[in-house]
């Protein structure tokens, strides 16, 4: 068994466990917000109060003080509060926050004669600010549950799922070899501009992918590790890096479109390629025909290009909130941005896999720019035939000028 297959098997096991963990978490998920900070009287050193003999019970509780104050608002009331300038402090930690939150919901439901059905309400405000005229938008809660549950868990399912599928493939099939072995001679595949642009886009994408994942998964994954302060700093940098990296990324996909769009138009060859899954499943050297880009690469191209444009459109909306979208629009823009981003992360995981671990000789195309003749012949026969005619017997090593 090759080390690749063993590695694939181990990765598959780990990913399967992660997938189970995510699924269990999803099933048990409740994001009820409950109190975490309590308010109470200033804590006095217990020793000193005992000496005075003053019982702590005579200290007015927050509840009593605020309740008395609340009653002063009744119409007939023309009274003064019994005391003023109490001194309460806030402290971290509420022992039974969960049950308090549920009790509050229960209490509110009992006030049914005061409750009116939730609805969108807009009116008129004398303030010149955007959205100042909005009184109520109950759909914020819907957006919250969509964002927190299907998108967050669906995204982790997608990422772990695609990785598990790749690991299982590696375990079952091993690395896709060049069937005839390396010939030792290479042909040029991507020129310097193409490679530079690819790596600029790639590094921008990796930055954006990781920083985006910090925003989406920082709370469940990083918060327990680095704390609220640490997460705040990491997320602040992430938000900035995410937006900064958008510039080279968008530039990169535009240059890619100029360089590669024509060669990525869908042709009849692609159906055959997809039907035979690129000949990846066996070691038959007669793989389905492909020109410079096969259907798999076209999938990556269009995924990155169209996904990138969708992410750009929704991302711009998020960068300039409410400039051209309302509440619903902003909520949809955020959901779309998260979903498109997660789909692109999944796509790029596949792309990185097949470009490095998954296939012998594939990484050379983007690294040195030259690929082995046999690799080219197997995976891109039409393109290979074409360039061989254009550059007959081009040597693998750079030719000296005298030649």
């Amino acid at each position: 068994m090759s080390p690749y297959r063993i590695g694939g098997g181990i990765a598959a096991l780990v990913l399967a466990v992660l997938l189970v963990v995510v699924t269990v978490q999803w099933l048990r998920y409740s994001d009820l917000v409950w109190p975490t900070v309590s308010i109470g009287p200033t804590t006095q050193p217990s020793g000193s109060s005992a000496t005075v003999g003053q019982s702590t019970a005579s200290e007015p509780s927050v509840t009593d003080v605020l309740a008395e104050r609340t009653r002063l608002q009744a119409d007939e009331a023309n009274r003064k509060p019994s005391g003023e300038n109490e001194n309460f402090v806030f402290q971290r930690g509420v022992s039974n926050g969960d049950s308090i939150a549920r009790e509050w919901l229960q209490q509110a439901a009992e006030q049914h004669e005061l409750l009116t059905p939730p609805r969108d309400v807009s009116g008129l405000s004398s303030l010149p600010y955007r959205n100042a005229d909005r009184l109520e938008q109950p759909e914020g809660r819907d957006w919250r549950s969509e964002h927190n549950s299907p998108v967050r868990f669906g995204g982790s399912w997608l990422i772990f799922g695609i990785s598990l599928a790749l690991a299982l493939f590696l375990f079952a099939r091993g690395r896709i070899q060049i069937v005839e072995g390396r010939s030792g001679e290479t042909v040029p595949r991507f020129n310097a501009i193409e490679r530079a642009n690819h790596w600029m886009t790639a590094s921008a994408f990796i930055i954006m992918g990781l920083t985006g994942l910090v925003i989406l998964y920082g709370k469940p994954l990083l918060l327990p590790l680095i704390g609220e302060h640490g997460l705040g700093r990491v997320a602040w940098w992430s938000a900035w890096l995410h937006m900064s990296a958008a510039v080279p990324f968008v530039l990169g996909i535009l240059v890619m479109a100029v360089l590669w769009l024509r060669e990525n138009l869908i042709t009849r060859l692609d159906l055959e390629w997809l039907r035979r899954f690129g000949g990846f499943l066996n070691d038959d050297p007669h793989k389905p025909s492909a020109d410079r880009f096969n259907a798999g690469q076209k999938l990556v191209f269009w995924g990155v290009f169209l996904g990138g444009l969708a992410a750009l459109a929704s991302g711009l909306a998020l960068m300039f909130p409410f400039h051209w979208l309302g509440y619903h629009g902003m909520q949809w823009a955020q959901l779309m941005h998260a979903i498109v981003g997660l789909l692109m992360v999944a796509l790029i995981i596949g792309h990185i896999y097949i470009g490095t671990v998954g296939m012998e000789g594939a990484v050379d195309a983007m690294w040195s720019g030259r690929v082995d003749r046999n690799w080219a012949k197997e995976h891109h026969d039409r393109w290979y035939a074409r360039i061989i005619n254009e550059w007959p017997r081009r040597p693998s090593r750079p030719a000296t000028p005298a030649e």
């Binding site: 975490t36 900070v37 600010y129 997320a235 909130p321």
Partner: protein, 200 residues
Amino acid sequence: MARMKFLCDADRCIECNACSVACKNEHQVPWGIVRRRVVTINDGQPGEKSVSIACMHCNDAPCAAVCPVSCIYQTDIGVVLHNKDTCIGCGYCFYACPFGAPQFPRTSNFGTRGKMDKCTYCAGGPEVTHSDAERSKYGQNRIAEGKLPICAEMCSTRSLLAGDGEIIAQIYKERVARRGYGEGAPGWSTAYADKRNVRS
């Protein structure tokens, strides 16, 4: 434990905007930010009503649930507060908030967003109570002094009620019984009773 709420009696609000002004003054709220505002519905038409609105300090607060850095937290009297030091200005709380409460000063990020600011129920923030840091970031901490939010306590028609939710509901109900009409509590079903997202 008492659960603090706001209740605006829309039949009494005269759109004087004193609540907004008192809030701005009490907390020295920066230019461009209003923690409390008055919205008039059906302006100039029969059935015109004005409602004073700010953060309602929701049960199961959606802003806290979506905050990617967990900077929004709730206290055991129901007040929802936030930490400006960890806030990254992403704006998610604004999309989630049913009442448009979070405000963003235009100081960064392409001139659009800085640290979020919103009504604190006059309860300050995570800094040391009554410290200068707390005052400059979040405003006065009246709750720590045993007082209720300034907007409600100075409302001239006592339209805006604040304090223990059970008591203000009782005050409002008695008032409605006496005068014979009442609109219900604006926003209460969305803020306090929504159970759509709770799985028990």
